[in-house]
């Protein structure tokens, strides 16, 4: 069962109370040093907060966006050694080293991310491995250069600032400050636009990018925040342990433990890692006395096993599950089955509502420039390792038309859509959209320019509700609405697509037909001037096809130009103003539908024999 993420229905007052709650808890916990507990307990409390800080910071990139990093140790270690070198070797005042530690760690992270995030293939396990490798490389460099050189760095001579009655108390307060900051930041990110973008990246990065999420930038920001916090934790920890060696600092313990803690607590929730961190640290250290250390380690292992087996989503989501399940039960029991013709929006109200929409396009701009052409490609070519999927295609798309793009299997139709939408970059040639060259643009900029698409096999964001899927498109696409306006927009398009009753459901609760219409709603929610439909009708029966055809006409009438790829000839003939026929990656024919379909070369290439079989 999937947990819905983040920014659903969170009102202002709820947000304020959570922030206040965190701050209040922080203030209350800040009084603990006044209790003058034995150093042992203060140290344990420090460690709990230390791990809360580390795990929460890790989660901001890795949990939210799904880029599981095993390199948190590198950034933590950078912070440790920054403080160790500055305070231990250059006698800087300890507190001044902390911002530098955070900054350097963030810098390292951004430098790494700038390179790694450009490489599309490095995701998932590969990203985890790469970050692990970076840790080892960094450790080796630190060990063999004057930064450490081998013997480690002693910080026993560094004066500890007197923030609390005791030394452990001081560290406790510093860690507390860090943990509170991390929690506030994690919560803030989850509620923000950045958070929605990161969750979308988690579910389907390519679809998110094509929809308009600036994935590269968002990942870098999340990484920078994550690393800065880790560096801060490292800086404080350096003085806490007071003797720093590469073996200890860059060991596999830090990266593994933060993953453990976050997964245990729940990676999709801002408080998950904190819960996991507290649970595991307390468990481990409850056993520190005497010979029970081993039992502690074994118990931690057992707890982890039990958690994975019985609570795979994590503790926090499991606790919140009941509420989420209740909401979804309402949605799943919705009586409407969009599989039947009745459910499709054939009613007058929907038609009227659509007709009343302000025109989606910059009609004014077009009138000014006097250009009828919305999109034009010139000698567009796309090759995949030697195979030319598009071999110099010149196509014109006129504003306000419905253009059918047809051709035999493998003729390049889907590739054309992929290249125009920016899913793939063109090998050569030009694409001009409203007079502007877009072939070099990143996919999310193409989305902002006003182009949207659907996928032949629907790619919804699996952990976002149906409504949030559409709202995300409204937020990040050409319309670029704020999150509250985006929700209202989403509701409108869900009504248009007949999915209102399923608004709170998760995509995997929809059948294929509903998912295709979710794709459609999502594409339209960004108010595109051009929408590219990739075999939207595939899998529908004739009556459903008729309804879909009517729907597509309404989309055009509301001001969006439509290009659709189809095999269902009936629909193609009924809908298209013009047809473009591709064959073997080249333009074979182009013109009014009836004319094109009469041409013998088109008939031969595409339709084959006219005899019944």
């Amino acid at each position: 069962m999937r947990r819905r993420s983040g920014a659903d229905d969170t009102s202002r007052s709820v947000r304020r109370s959570i922030v206040a709650g965190i701050l209040l808890a922080g203030a209350a916990l800040a009084c603990v040093p006044l209790l003058r507990l034995p150093a042992f307990y203060e140290s344990i409390l420090y460690l709990v907060l230390h791990w809360v800080l580390l795990a929460t910071s890790w989660n901001i990139l890795s949990g939210y966006a799904g880029y599981f990093s095993f390199g948190h140790g590198a950034f933590f270690g950078t912070g440790v050694y920054t403080t160790a070198v500055l305070a231990g070797k250059f006698d800087w005042p300890f507190l001044w080293t902390l911002p530098v530690a955070a900054a350097l760690a963030a810098l390292l992270g951004v430098a790494l991310g700038a390179v790694v995030f450009r490489v599309r293939s490095v995701r998932g396990e590969l990203f985890a491995l790469l970050t692990l490798a970076v840790t080892f490389v960094l450790a080796t460099i630190v060990l063999n250069t004057p930064i450490d050189g081998g013997p480690g760095i002693y910080l026993s001579a560094v004066p500890v600032p007197h923030l609390a009655p005791t030394q452990p108390g001081t560290f406790y307060l510093l860690a507390l400050a860090g943990a509170v900051a991390a929690l506030l930041i994690a919560y803030g990110v989850q509620q923000s636009r950045l958070g929605v973008g990161l969750f979308a990246i988690h579910d389907d990065e390519d679809a998110a990018e094509v929809m308009g999420v600036p994935t590269y930038r968002y990942k870098l920001v999340a990484l920078a925040i994550s690393c800065a916090l880790a560096g801060l934790a490292g800086g404080v920890h350096a003085l806490f342990i007071s003797y720093v060696t590469t073996g200890e600092v860059f060991s596999i313990t830090v990266p593994l433990t933060v993953v453990l803690m976050s997964v245990l607590g729940g990676t999709r929730h801002w408080a998950g890692p904190a819960v996991g961190a507290a649970a595991i640290t307390l468990l481990l250290y409850a056993f520190t006395k005497g010979d029970l250390a081993l039992a502690g380690k074994a118990t931690t292992g057992a707890v982890l096993i039990a958690a994975i087996l019985f609570m795979p989503q994590g503790i926090v989501p499991r606790l919140l599950q009941r509420r989420a399940a209740a909401q979804r039960a309402v949605a799943a029991a919705a009586p409407v089955e969009p599989g039947t013709p009745d459910a499709l929006p054939a009613d007058a109200a929907a038609v009227a509502a659509t007709a009343a929409l302000p025109s989606a396009g910059p009609g004014a701009a077009a009138a000014r420039s006097g250009v009828d052409l919305l999109l034009r490609t010139a000698a567009l070519t796309k090759s995949f390792s030697g195979v030319q999927a598009l071999a110099g295609v010149d196509v014109e798309i006129r504003r306000g038309e419905i253009l059918g793009l047809i051709g035999p299997n493998g003729s390049g139709k889907s590739t054309f859509i992929n290249v125009v939408s920016g899913h793939f970059g063109a090998t050569s040639g030009r694409i001009e959209f409203e007079g502007r060259a877009i072939e070099q643009l990143a996919a999310h900029r193409i989305a902002h320019a006003g182009i949207a698409r659907t996928y032949q096999i629907p790619r919804p964001f699996a952990h976002l509700s149906v409504r949030d899927n559409v709202a995300a498109a409204a937020m990040f696409g050409g319309a670029a609405l704020s999150s509250s306006k985006a929700r209202a927009e989403a509701d409108h398009w869900l009504a248009f697509a007949g999915l209102t009753a399923k608004a709170q459901a998760l995509p995997d609760e929809l059948n294929l037909h509903q998912r295709k219409f979710l794709e459609l709603a999502r594409a339209l929610a960004s108010r595109p001037r051009l929408v590219l439909l990739d075999e939207v009708l595939c899998g529908l029966n004739p009556a459903e096809i008729d309804s879909a055809v009517a729907l597509i006409r309404r989309i055009r009438d509301a001001g969006t130009t439509v290009v659709f790829v189809e095999h269902v000839m009936r629909a193609v003939m009924a809908l298209s103003d013009r047809l473009v026929v591709l064959n073997h990656g080249q333009l074979l024919a182009e013109g009014p539908a009836a004319q094109v379909m009469q041409r013998p070369d088109v008939v031969a290439a595409y339709l084959g024999s006219v005899e019944p079989c």
Binding site: V122, L129, V134, F136, T140, S251, I252, L294, G301, L304
Partner: protein
């Protein structure tokens, strides 16, 4: 930085070859499990070390030949591997969660090892340790040679099995699309248990080889994780020969780096290689 003699370099490369073949041997089961069973099995390292310690114990207590201990150890770990995978199947654990689950298992194994054998270093004393051959100007220690031959033989055997037998093809099909493989008669659950048991058995073999050449300590379990993962990923998940080749590449580059510069620089070569591979591979 004076370049050492050719003999020293060759000897280093040779020892790199040997340790690399051990990386490959450990990585073999890990990679198969990851590629074909979608399980990232950190417990593989726990199994390897547990087997190493068991071998040590059997030899120290009974004086039997270390290689004979395989007769008892391999079936034991085959069963353990089956058991672990049965749990993974039963609870439908995802690949990422399997990483964490097996980490938990490893923590328990490590604690158990430390409880029984303490954290002190243990070294297996056997007649193998002293035996050496001469090959030209180079020394070839017997334990390392055994490891190399075992690694090579097992890798080739598994490669052949996967490529040319019905079992191998069924396994590959099931790894790619289990329901459709089932529709053609592949009993994926049974095959998976068999494979998981075999991977654990491979870990046990690796453990015995490890005990022949290396000093054992519980904390050492984690020292191998990074390098072996690197070998597996470089070699390709689910590949039989890949981990061995990658392991040797890593081992040799490490050893040469150690010989030319200083031992502490060793990791940088293999990991930089890995990073470069990940970034530049098409």
């Amino acid at each position: 930085m004076t370049l050492p003699s050719a003999t020293l370099l060759a000897q280093s490369a040779l020892s790199g070859l040997f340790v690399g073949s051990l990386y490959g041997l450990i990585g073999l089961g890990l990679g198969l499990s990851w590629g074909l069973l979608r399980t990232i099995n950190l417990a593989h390292f726990g199994f390897t070390f547990a087997a190493a310690y068991l071998c040590y114990q059997l030899v120290t207590s009974t004086g039997v030949d270390p290689l004979l201990t395989l007769l008892a150890i391999v079936p034991l770990f085959f069963a353990l591997g089956c058991g672990l995978h049965w749990v993974v199947q039963r609870f439908e654990v995802s690949p990422l969660n399997s990483l964490l689950l097996t980490f938990g298992v490893t923590a328990i194994i490590e604690a158990a090892i430390q409880a029984v054998w303490s954290a002190d270093f243990r070294r297996l004393e056997s007649h193998y340790a002293q035996a050496k051959f001469r090959w030209g100007a180079l020394y070839v220690p017997l334990p390392e040679l055994i490891t190399l031959i075992t690694s090579l033989a097992l890798s080739l055997a598994i490669w052949w099995l996967l490529r040319h037998t019905r079992f191998g093809k069924a396994m590959r099909a099931a790894a790619e699309d289990a329901p459709i493989a089932a529709a053609f008669g592949v009993n994926q659950r049974a095959l998976a248990l068999l494979l998981a048991g075999s991977c654990a058995a491979l870990a046990a073999v690796a453990g015995v080889c490890l005990s022949l050449s290396f000093t054992l300590a519980p904390a050492q379990i984690y020292a191998w994780i990074g390098v072996v993962f690197a070998a597996v990923m470089m070699g390709g998940l689910g590949s039989a020969l890949g981990p061995l080749v990658a392991g040797v590449v890593i081992g040799v580059s490490e050893a040469l780096t150690m010989a030319i510069t200083a031992p502490s620089w060793a990791p940088i070569v293999s990991f930089t290689l890995l990073i470069a591979l990940l970034l530049l591979r098409p």
